[in-house]
Symmetry: C2
Subunit: 116 residues, 2 copies
């Protein structure tokens, strides 16, 4: 995710918007390693286009993952290692989690120096 | 935005997904005051449903604002004080900015203790 931005084709495509609040945990609960592994895995997923993710110091985070199609989203959802990680998220890591699936209809960008 | 999560009706509705990287500025450049003012204003905008926003210590941030309709998004885009703020964002505050408009088709959530 280099500079944080996903490089995406022209719309339409799909966005999976996840917002979450981490539990007050403290210590290494495996979250960071699993997040890195999920990013590695999703990049191998057919139809995955890119992702953007950030979390504030208050523990509230947003990740948006972009896919070519609903079929690609469903395949990623059913990927076994990802399904296990989602269960750990629900049971161990997240206090609150919201997921919204949306179809991106238009997009534009601006980058200083060059039009994005 | 209390605990960070927007409380939204059942889909369909629209999401405006903005990702941005702040310029290396330092000092008070008016960004925080304008952000707070924009949140105050958008809450008064007809068709605004809620927003979620976070920024990491690396300066990369994601805000997702939810609206009832494309018409509500267009009205907010054309709100004069917001249009001025967007221009300052492009010219002063952001090194890179991407905006995607999407129609949310389905959503679910999980909150510990109670189903969200």
């Amino acid at each position: 995710m280099h500079d944080g931005f996903a490089t995406l084709p022209a719309p339409p495509y799909y966005a999976v918007i996840s917002s979450s609040r981490r539990r007050d945990g403290g210590g290494d609960d495996g979250y960071d390693a699993t997040s890195a592994r999920m990013l590695e895995l999703v990049r191998q997923q057919p139809g995955f286009l890119g992702a953007e993710s950030t979390r504030g110091i208050d523990g509230f985070g947003i990740t948006v993952a972009y896919f070519e199609s609903e079929e690609a989203i469903a395949a990623w959802r059913n990927q076994p290692e990802h399904a296990d990680a989602r269960a750990r998220g629900r049971n161990e890591w997240y206090e609150h989690f919201e997921l919204r699936v949306a179809k991106v209809e238009r997009a534009y960008g601006m980058r200083h120096g060059t039009p994005a």
